[in-house]
């Protein structure tokens, strides 16, 4: 589903114009990104929690050079599914 489709649907549900919905959407994504960049985690109820972590410098084998390489530290986003989402997803699994 594309962003426009999502916006259209949300705009209908919320009784807002699509432009307004897009504004909300963009600032929501922007805020979430900024939070993660600032090392702040957050939870979206019913979906899961996000947080960022520094992955430490480590050695790893590079198959191209066939050698060990030192991989520099990197900050990455982690996601944890919420228990409700987990239950819902697996419930659906059982039904099928």
């Amino acid at each position: 589903m594309t962003k426009t489709e999502v916006l259209k649907k949300l705009a209908e549900q919320l009784d807002l114009t699509q432009a307004d919905t897009e504004k909300l959407y963009d600032s929501f994504v922007d805020g979430a990104t900024t939070l993660l960049a600032m090392n702040k985690g957050f939870t979206l109820p019913g979906l899961g929690s996000f947080h960022s972590e520094v992955r430490a410098e480590h050695r790893s084998y590079n198959p191209h050079y066939k050698q060990m390489m030192m991989i520099p530290p990197k900050k990455v986003v982690h996601f944890n599914q919420s228990s409700t989402l987990k239950a819902e997803i697996n419930e659906e699994n059982d039904e099928q």
Partner: protein
């Protein structure tokens, strides 16, 4: 946790930046989350543009153990939702570390301890002699003839042909100089040729090794009997664990790509350039210029080093790498003229 932001705070911030009421903002967030969930249920995939995508993954049944009792349990097959951040988010989050790059730290493979007889003879002897005793008179005659042999063997490509030609010229010129020094009557003339050679020093790179030879006090007998290739002002370096030519070259010169110099001073084309054993003693040839301001002589040596590396790679069937270093050799050759 202190570094967590609550949902209420997010909604508040959202309503502040957009100017909508908190209720509207919360309704939006809820609707968005519901949308993502519904899509995950339906298609197993969902995405938030510019943020990331969610995907339902199947997890196979596996054995685990109860962390409290240590009792083995079977975790049944289930599904879980994974999140993949998009590039925009990834880069934003990683901005602080974005400049870092991974680097080669060494070799896990066993290095074949020099294959050719001649090479191993030189290799063993080079560890024995005291660098102070052998000094500079040992000179470069030995490595040069040695080098020429190597190149003569691998003259498949036109580039190497050119290199061989250059080396033959250099070899003939140096032989001529050696003959002259043998004759004591010619000593006076030799000094004059020395000055001539050093004046050529700046102009022609090809003559470079020759002039270097004449500058150092010649002792043909010593040069003949010993096969040690102690480089001029060279340092001996012992390879530490997981170190590779790049690392050593960077430590020695500040430039990782000068490593063919080290390779050339120590090995021949029968040594695999991607192998280096811990504890090997390496000679680190000194540059006549500075790493940032190379002389024509340095470029010529870099070029011949790269040619050697190229032919060594070719020898081991690594044609793409051979081509790459042939290009380097070409470039440095042009710089040396």
């Amino acid at each position: 946790m202190s570094n967590k932001v609550t949902y209420a705070e997010i909604i508040e911030a959202l309503s502040r930046t957009t100017g909508f009421s908190k209720q509207k903002s919360e309704a939006f967030a809820k609707a968005l989350i519901a949308e993502v969930k519904a899509e995950l249920q339906e298609t197993g995939k969902a995405s938030i543009t510019n943020f990331g995508s969610f995907k339902v993954k199947e997890v196979a049944e596996r054995q685990g153990q109860n962390p409290q009792t240590g009792e083995p349990i079977t975790i049944p097959a289930h599904k879980r939702v994974t999140f993949t951040p998009y590039k925009a988010l990834r880069e934003e989050v990683n901005a602080k570390y974005a400049h870092l790059e991974s680097e080669l730290i060494g070799e896990k493979k066993e290095k074949p301890e020099t294959k050719s007889g001649a090479a191993s003879a030189i290799f063993e002897e080079e560890k024995l002699p005291d660098p102070d005793l052998e000094t500079d008179d040992v000179v470069k005659e030995e490595p040069k003839s040695f080098k020429r042999k190597e190149h003569a063997r691998g003259n498949n490509t036109g580039l190497i042909m050119v290199a061989v030609l250059v080396l033959v010229i250099v070899g003939l010129a140096s032989a001529w100089f050696l003959l002259r020094t043998d004759d004591p009557a010619q000593t006076a003339m030799n000094t004059s040729s020395e000055t001539k050679a050093s004046s050529q020093n700046e102009t022609t790179a090809k003559q470079e090794p020759v002039s270097e030879e004449t500058e150092s006090p010649q002792n043909p007998e010593l040069a003949g009997q010993t096969s040690s290739e102690t480089a001029k002002d060279g340092n001996i370096y012992q390879v530490k664990e997981d170190e590779w030519y790049w690392v050593i070259s960077r430590n020695a010169y500040g430039k990782a790509h000068f490593w063919p110099l080290i390779f050339e001073a120590n090995f021949n084309r029968d040594t695999h350039p991607d192998s280096l054993e811990t504890g090997t003693l390496l000679k680190i040839p000194a540059l006549s210029g500075t790493p940032d301001n190379l002389t024509a002589e340095d470029y010529a040596r870099l070029a011949s080093g790269a040619t050697l590396v190229s032919s060594a790679y070719e020898n081991f069937g690594k044609l793409d790498k051979a081509k790459e270093y042939a290009r380097y050799a070409d470039k440095w050759n042009r710089n040396s003229q």
